[in-house]
Amino acid sequence: MPTLLPHFPATFIVTGNPLIYGAEVSIVLATVGILFVLTYFKKWRWLWREWLTTVDHKKIAVMYLIAALLMFFRGGVDAMLMRTQLMQPNMHFLQAEHYNQIFTTHGTIMILFMAMPFIFAMFNIAVPLQIGARDVAFPYLNAVSFWLYFFAALLFNLSFVIGGSPDAGWVSYPPLAGLEFDPGPGENFYLLSLQITGIGSMATGINFMVTILKMRAPGMTLMRMPLFSWSVLASSILIIFAFPVLTVALALLLVDRLAGAHFFTMLQGGNPMMYVNLFWIWGHPEVYIVILPAFGIFSEVVSTFSGKRIFGYSSMVASLMTISVISYLLWVHHFYTMGAGPGVNSFFAVATMSVGIPTGVKVFNWLFTMYRGRIRLTVPMLWAIAFIPIFAIGGATGVMLAAAPADYQYHNSFFLIAHFHQVLIGGTVFGMLAGMYYWWPKMFGYMLNERIGRWAFWLFNGGFYVTFLPQYLLGLMGMTRRMYTYPADMGWNALNFISTIGAYVMGVGFIVLVLDVVYSIRYGERDVTGDPWNGRTLEWSLPSPAPHYNFARIPTVTSRDAWWTGKQARAKGDAPAPPEPLQPIHMPKNSGGPFILAVIFFIGGFGLVFNWYVLGLLALLGILVNLLLRSLDYDTDYYVPIEEIEHTEATLRRA
């Protein structure tokens, strides 16, 4: 019921479980701690000026990266809790309610609050530098995207202690996720936080598509563009055409829940299957949204550390674009078992298998990039190499799942779980970690420790096989997903136990990875060359970290692997052309607008979760005012004077 005064449900603060009390206490302690540290060291002004108001893509990349790692931790803890519960049959570690909440938040967080910001971190750090741009096309909008994501993640995580977490699975199918079966506020948290972060993602998609198509350095034709930028272009196209569908699916379910509409209810003519279709029309392209950038990173890493041109560049581009087109024609394979006719199932089955063709081509091209190269087994390269067998197996089980009649036996079983973890971890996570190690010096100016990084790699990679290979077998033994417990007489005990051990090893691997970051902050070797890996693309022509305007002079590009070719020419003794005179650089001004806008979104979202419409309306008003103020602000940019550029360049080059 709509009410004027806020109505606090009895479950407003979640109680009744030591885990949650622990979380509540630690949240309060951490918040107090952060506030104290910021105040004690007088860092508030610094935080606001350098970070909260920044529109610099490099700083936004750093914030995305930190947020992604934090969410990786949260989602990982969820995974550990689930695996602990499944370690043995009939465990009493978690109750059904908690288990259901945990697998829901695990999936949602890993896809939308971990994978998405992780790829956006890579988009932001690499794309403008690779294509020779001073920033993205819309720096202000870029900051809006980040802060919307940030506050959406906050909103989603808040549900753990306030109101209760969503518990209908990350796909949130109605009618289970409808009011009849899920009256609590948890689902509202899910719907609103995804909606808010979805707006941000859509804006990022638009932003990078414009950046890549319109802001490349002179001479950088599309076919001279680094493959990572190509993959970002493909991913952005997917975002632009897929995310609005998610927006609609979530909005309609929200209208069902808040206003009593009947889109997906069982009664009054609602059609729950409509949601399933809408969700997967977004959901399938989404997996390619997060995996194509990983493909791009592998292309960069493999080529760099083999000291060799990427093999079959045109094929790589063609396969990226083919994948992004085909990925729209696959969504029904998520529900072959929902009674579509044999004609429909056959079409989607063959389409799904055919996406394996361009993907397979990419694998062979990476292999032959290494062939006749000189392979340096650095940490980024290790992640890239380890990706290939994992992805080959994951892709193969994908083709097996694509065969509709076979899928009747795999659907929603642990076979499926093993498959998509194999492609999403082996693809996206390995890709992002490779990218993180690869571009870390460019982001921070120092290297991550290789030795600790190797430990993290071997633990995570080894743990991966131990965790997920047994799950294929469990699926073939008939174990379905989302069971909080299982009987002892099915023969599933040993494999579940092994899988849990593997998960712990992966957890240790993640901790070692964090240790590497912490260790390297203090002891990491400084990257004074700007080109620690002997790189090939333009980002390595800049000092690490790059100055805020990126390029003092926009480079002119004459070939693929522009920086590599330039280095070779200079080695041969070709004198570089005399530098053009500097010009003042046009840069956007920092602004608190994006941060404030996202805070308002957060407040409105929180209000709607509890059906406090007044708060929602106030937030809407606040959003409009915020947009209006931005529109009226004509003082949004400035020029960096030549003297300042000269000074900065001199300092950076001398260091």
Binding site: V210, V245, V248, A249, A261, F263, G270, N271, S631, L632
Partner: protein, 211 residues
């Protein structure tokens, strides 16, 4: 021409005689392209709402049907008003390209007024349905109808607020490369909504009353 280019180095402007004012700054060209992409996302959004409507239109759950509900004079008037507003909006852009600030402002005010009357009619239509046994909660068909047409209505309302803000800026700052770009973009938005309405008119209303 009374248009002042902002103080910018040569690289940032692409001004020559044939470039329209709204494209004359690098930044303007980027924003217009970005807005086209935004329209693409909005198009997908409306496509999904249309698909939902088409699938749910017969699920009336014993409640009122399209045939019983839709009133031909009302939706015809709405259509005529909105189409006219798109035309007057276009005249505004034309006036801008002719260098007439007054013409631009006048046509934009006409467009805003037409938009407001469209919204007024739509609100009246919705209120009539809701008070005569056909609220959003009655059936899947009505949920889909209110959401599809209502989303369009929200877009139009936002467009009106947007144009008011731009009118204010035009009055204060005149026609510059920046305000011209804003006028051009809101024009794109307005024409887009017009096209969406043409689909609503034919798919929802015409189809509905013709059975």
């Amino acid at each position: 021409m009374t248009i002042a280019h902002d103080r910018l180095p040569a690289r940032e402007t692409r001004a020559d005689r044939d470039t329209p004012l709204e494209y004359s700054l690098e930044e303007g060209a980027l924003r217009i392209f970005g807005f086209w992409l935004f329209l693409a996302t909005d198009l997908v959004l409306f496509a999904c709402l249309f698909a939902t409507y088409v699938i749910l239109r017969d699920n009336t759950a014993g409640g009122p049907t399209e045939m019983q509900l839709f009133d031909v004079p009302t939706f015809t008037a709405e259509t005529l008003i909105l189409l006219t507003s798109s035309f007057t909006g276009g005249l505004g852009t034309y006036a801008m390209h002719q260098g007439s600030k007054r013409g631009l402002i006048a046509w934009m005010i006409v467009t805003v007024l037409l938009g407001l009357s469209f919204i007024g009619l739509e609100v009246r239509e919705f209120a009539a349905y809701a008070t005569h046994g056909a609220p959003l909660q009655r059936s899947a068909f009505l949920s889909a109808f209110f959401t599809l047409v209502g989303t369009h209505g929200c877009h139009v309302s936002l467009g009106i607020l947007w144009m008011l803000s731009i009118l204010y800026q035009l009055a204060r700052r005149g026609v510059t490369a920046i305000t011209a770009r804003k006028v051009f973009i809101v024009g794109l938005y307005w024409h887009f909504l017009d096209i969406v309405w043409v689909f609503i008119f034919s798919v929802v209303y015409l189809n509905g009353v013709m059975g």
